[in-house]
């Protein structure tokens, strides 16, 4: 659906310090099962599909009563061999106008993806946190200052979001 997409590397972010890939794959398979069973509303994630468990594609639907209602955003989740001891790299592949997301790179400023990451989080909790961040940004540390300034004015903000979304999703 998204006409704008970004190139992401195909290989896992292997490091010398990692575990054997096997235990990471096992954990990710377990998470995939949990996601399928839990059916969290508006959240979806699965491996990209060419047999690479380390690269997932996720979608988040904007919640009701937020400016993102009715819109679906794609994200990319890249795991290293040190997952879950290190956070995966998560970014929006559908550009999103949001105070805590860089519009061009899709980089997300979210504490649990950085210094508050712990192995008790998983793909599901990451996506729930991002979904919640969409409706409840932290305007004190914006990555998109234009969006942070405009947030107060929800009506205007909604218009910009709608316009930008229709550009990238090809919807009118």
């Amino acid at each position: 659906m998204s006409s704008v997409s970004r190139a992401v590397p195909k290989k896992p972010l292997a490091t010398n310090n990692g575990q054997s890939g096997q235990s990471v794959v096992k954990r990710l398979q377990q998470e995939l099962m949990t996601l399928m069973m839990s059916k969290t509303p508006g959240i979806n994630a699965f491996p990209e599909g060419d047999g690479n468990m380390f690269l997932w594609v996720a979608t988040i639907k904007g919640c009701q009563d937020t400016v993102y209602d009715g819109q679906t955003y794609k994200l990319s989740i890249q795991f290293s061999t040190e997952y879950p001891f290190k956070a995966p790299a998560v970014f929006f592949t559908t550009p999103i106008f949001h105070p805590n997301v860089d519009y061009n790179s899709g980089t997300i400023c979210l504490d649990i993806l950085k210094d508050k990451w712990s192995a008790a989080y998983n793909v599901r909790t990451i996506l729930i946190s991002i979904q919640s961040l969409m409706g409840d940004p932290n305007n004190d540390s914006p990555l998109n200052s234009q969006a942070a300034q405009l947030w107060e004015n929800q009506e205007e903000f909604g218009k910009v979001v709608k316009q930008k979304y229709s550009e990238v999703s090809g919807q009118k």
Partner: protein, 265 residues
């Protein structure tokens, strides 16, 4: 949960720190071999009288030390290794069973605190298996234990579980620790403190966590602190015992920001 990093920790600082940690981790063993305490001298300028005096003092009580990788996990790794090493050497079934029940109770506490059992069980079971194998005599020597501590599928899981175990203990005994948290950190709740300073891997621990670790596991620890400061006392090496006044069974060398294991003469 607050969503966004509100500290002044910018991304470039964070990434730089990560790179520094990684270059350090690659250069030293996760758990090193025992070596003579004399080798500690080589880390310092021989003209640094202050430190050399402290090392002289250490040598009177300790003959051997063992380095632990300085990746932010050093205290917890040194602590857990020392506890397990004692179990391997003394074959004390009561102590082994006690530690295993500490592990089991902590998992129950974590679940009661709302932590996801399914995720934590992955790490719990790795550590519980390790302690079981010690009890069953399958891990017979300290060399074998050292192998397990550096094994790619064990090394992170066991440290990770210890972090959650300590977190559960601190949260359940919050009244005891919150005054120190309020007094020495920016955190105003135990939950925020534990989630930010303790549960994530590679986070260096402070003295509050050192104290809580000993209390959570019922272990007495002595720290020998060697730094460049001159102390107005005949004894130059500052010694701290957790809990205070107890008879320590494990010993560590503390140099600012880093812990290694010490062995009594």
């Amino acid at each position: 949960m607050d969503h966004v990093d509100s500290s002044s920790f910018s991304m470039s600082d964070y990434e730089r720190q990560q790179e520094e940690i990684e270059s350090e981790t690659k250069s030293s063993p996760i758990v090193g071999d025992k070596q003579s305490i004399e080798s500690l001298r080589q880390a310092y300028n021989p003209d640094n009288e202050q430190v050399q005096k402290k090392i002289n003092e250490l040598i009177q009580n300790y003959s051997v030390w063992r380095t632990v990788r300085g990746d932010g996990n050093c205290f917890i790794r040194a602590f857990l290794f020392s506890v397990c090493e004692e179990l391997v050497l003394k074959k004390d079934t009561t102590k082994q069973k006690h530690f295993q029940s500490v592990l089991k109770n902590s998992l129950e506490s974590l679940v009661n605190l709302g932590y996801p059992e399914m995720l934590l069980d992955d790490f719990y079971s790795v550590l519980d298996d390790l302690v079981t194998e010690i009890g069953e005599g399958k891990i017979k020597s300290v060399d074998e234990l050292q192998q397990r501590f550096v094994d790619p599928d064990t090394k992170d899981a066991i440290i990770c579980y210890m972090r959650f175990l300590i977190s559960a203990y601190m949260q359940l005994n919050g009244d005891e620790y919150i005054p120190y948290v309020l007094g020495t950190t920016d955190h105003v709740t135990m939950d925020s403190y534990c989630k930010t300073e303790l549960e994530g891997m590679y986070k260096e621990v402070d003295n509050i966590i050192v104290s809580a670790t000993c209390a959570a596991c019922g272990v007495s620890l002595r720290l020998e602190c060697v730094d460049a400061q001159n102390r107005d006392s005949t004894q130059q090496v500052q010694t701290i015992t957790f809990p205070d006044q107890s008879e320590p069974t494990i010993f560590m060398l503390y140099r600012p920001g880093h812990y290694d294991i010490l062995y009594k003469r």
